[in-house]
C-alpha cells in the first residue's frame, strides 16, 4: 500500500505545479514540422483518392 500512496501523492503533488509548468513544456513545443508532414499527407490523400474517383467517373454509369 505504501508504494501506492507514494505514487498517488507524488502524482498529486506534481499536479499543482503541473498546471503551470508541464503545460508550459507543451506550449513551448509547436509541432510545425508535424503540421507540414500532415499537410503533405493531405495533398497526397486528395490527389490519390481523386485519381481513383476520376477513374470511376470515366468508366460510365452502373446502376
Amino acid at each position: 500500500m505504501t508504494t501506492d500512496d507514494v505514487s498517488a501523492n507524488s502524482v498529486a503533488n506534481s499536479e499543482r505545479a503541473a498546471d503551470h509548468e508541464q503545460t508550459d513544456e507543451h506550449e513551448h513545443f509547436k509541432p510545425v514540422g508535424t503540421m507540414f508532414i500532415l499537410a503533405m499527407f493531405v495533398v497526397a490523400l486528395i490527389m490519390l483518392w481523386a485519381s481513383v474517383y476520376l477513374i470511376l467517373l470515366s468508366r460510365g454509369v452502373t446502376t
Binding site: M1, T3, D4, V6, S7, A8, S10, V11, A12, N13, S14, E15, A17, A18, E21, Q22, T23, D24, E25, H26, H28, F29, K30, P31, V32, G33, T34, F36, I37, L38, F41, A44, L45, L48, W49, V52, Y53, I55, L56, R59, T62
Partner: protein, 577 residues
Amino acid sequence: MTTIDEPIETPDVETTDLTIERVEKPEFDLSPQEKRFVGWHITVAITALMIGSMMGPIQSFQFSGLDLYPYLEPVIKSYYQGLTLHGVLNALVYTTFFIVGFANLTTMKGLGRSLSHPVINKVGFWTMLTGLIMTGIPILTNSATVLYTFYPPLKASWAFYLGLTLVVVGSWIEGLGFYLTLAAWRKDHRGVRSPFIALGGIINMAMWQIATLGIAVEILTMLLPWSLGLIDNTDPELARTYFWFTGHPLVYFWLLPAYVSWYGMLPKQVGGKLFSDSLARLAFWLFLIVSVPVGFHHQFTDPGVPQTWKFIHAALTYSVFFPSMITLFTVVASLEFAARRQGGKGLVGWIRTLPWGDPSVAAQLLAGILFMFGGIGGLTNASYSLNLVIHNTAWVPGHFHLTVATAATLSFMGISYWMVPYLAGKQLWSPKMALVQVWTWFVGMIIFSNAMHVLGLLGAPRRTPLGSAPYVPEEWNGHLLRVSIGGGILLISVLIYGWVMLRTALGPKVEAHLVPTVPIAESIRHPQLTPVWLDRFKPWLIAAGLLLVVAYGPQFIDQIFNMNLNAPGTDFVPWPS
C-alpha cells in the same frame, strides 16, 4: 521553436516527484517463467511467419512466369494451397500469437505486476496452439484449400474450422486473464489512470472478443455442422455477413498493437515523450466502438445486402479514419518533440535526428510511412461506389500488404528487435543485418504494393495466378514483373529476419545491463490529468453495443430470419489435388 530546449534542460516539476516514485518503487520485471511464456507465443508467431512468408514470393514469381510449383509438388499442390498457407499463417496465426504474446508483456510490464491468474493464460495459449495444429494439418494435406476467408460453399475439412475456432477461443481465454489482471490492479490503485500500454493492449482484446462473435457464429452454426455432414447446405450470403463482421475489425486487431508501440513505446525509443495521453486513449476507445460496425464495406458488391446498409457502413467506416488521423498527428508530433529536444532543426530536417540506426526504431518509422499510403487506400476502399473500381482486384492485396504486412508486421519485427533479446536475455545479433532487413522490407514492399495497386486499377483480379491466366493483356506484363521483383526483395528480407531472430535466440546469454529493457514512454502531460472517462470500460462498451445493434441489427435479423440453407457447393473437391 527556439524555446523548446528550455523546459527540458531544467529538471522541472514534471520529473521531480515522479522520480522519487520511481526510486522508491522497485521496478517490476517479468520472471524467467513469464518471459518464457511470452517467448512461446513469439516463437510460434515467428515460425508461422517464416513458413507463411515463403509462399508469398513464390506466388509473386508465378506472376511473371517463373512457376516454382512443380518443385513444391510433394507438399504444396497448387498456387491456391500455397496462398491458403500464406493467408492463414501470416494473417491469422502469426498475428494472433504475436499480438496475444505482446499483450501479455504489455499487461504485466504496464501494470507492474504478474498476471492475476496465470493458469488462465496458460490454458488460453495451449488452446490456441492446439487449434493451430488442427488448422495446419488439413491445410498441409490439401484438404482445406479454401483461402483465409473460407467462403462457403467451398468446403474444408472439419478440422480446419474447429482448429480456427480453438485459436479464437484460446485468444478469448487469454483476454479474460488480462481483464482479471487489470481489475486486480485497479483494486489496488483506485483513482490512478491505467498505464497506457496495458490499457491499449486490453482494449484491443476487448474489441477482438466482440468482433470474433461473427466468425464464431458462422463456424459453429453453419460451417462446422456442414463439414461434419450434419447439415447439407449453407447460406453463402449470410456466411459472408458473419465473416465480415469479424473480418474488418480483424485489421484493427492487427494494427492496434502496433499503435500501442507507436504511442506508448516508440517515443521512449527515440528519446522523447508521448505527445498526448488523452488522445492516445481516446483513439483506442474510438477503435473499440467503430471497428466492428463497418463490415458491409467489404460487401459493397454483394448481392443480398441492400444499398442503404452499404451506404451506412461506408459512413461508419469513414469514422474509423478519425482515430487513425489522431494517431498520425500524435505519433508524428511525439517524434518531432523527441527530435527537437535532441537538437533537431528545420521544418523536416529534424527527421534525420531520429535514431535511424536502431533497427527497432527504423522498422516502426518506415512502417508508419507506408501506413500513410495504406490509409489513403483504405479510405478509397471505404468510399462506396469507388469500390467498383477496385473490389477484388489486385489493388486489395496491394493495400493490405501496406497495412497488415507492413504497418503491423514491420512494426512487430521492429518490436521483436528489442523484445526477443529482452525475453531471451541476449543481445540482438547484428543490428546491421536487422537494418538491412528493415530497409529491404520497405523497398520491396513499395515495389510490390505499387505494382499491385496499379494492376488492380487496370482490372487484374486478386487471388489469381496471373502468370497463367489467359486474359492477361500485354499491358500488365511490366507490372507483373514488378510484383515479382518486389516479392524477391521481400523474400530476401524475411530470410534475413529469420536468420537474425535465430542467431539472437541461440546467441550467448549476456550480462543483465546489456540486455534491452522494455521501452515505456512517459507522456508530456501526466496521465493523471487525463479525464476519468478515458479510463473506464463501461461507457465505451455500452456505446459499442448500441452502435452494433443499430448498424448490424436490422440486416442480421433480416438475413437470419430469411436464412436459406440451400447451397451445397460442389460434389467434387474443387481445388487442384
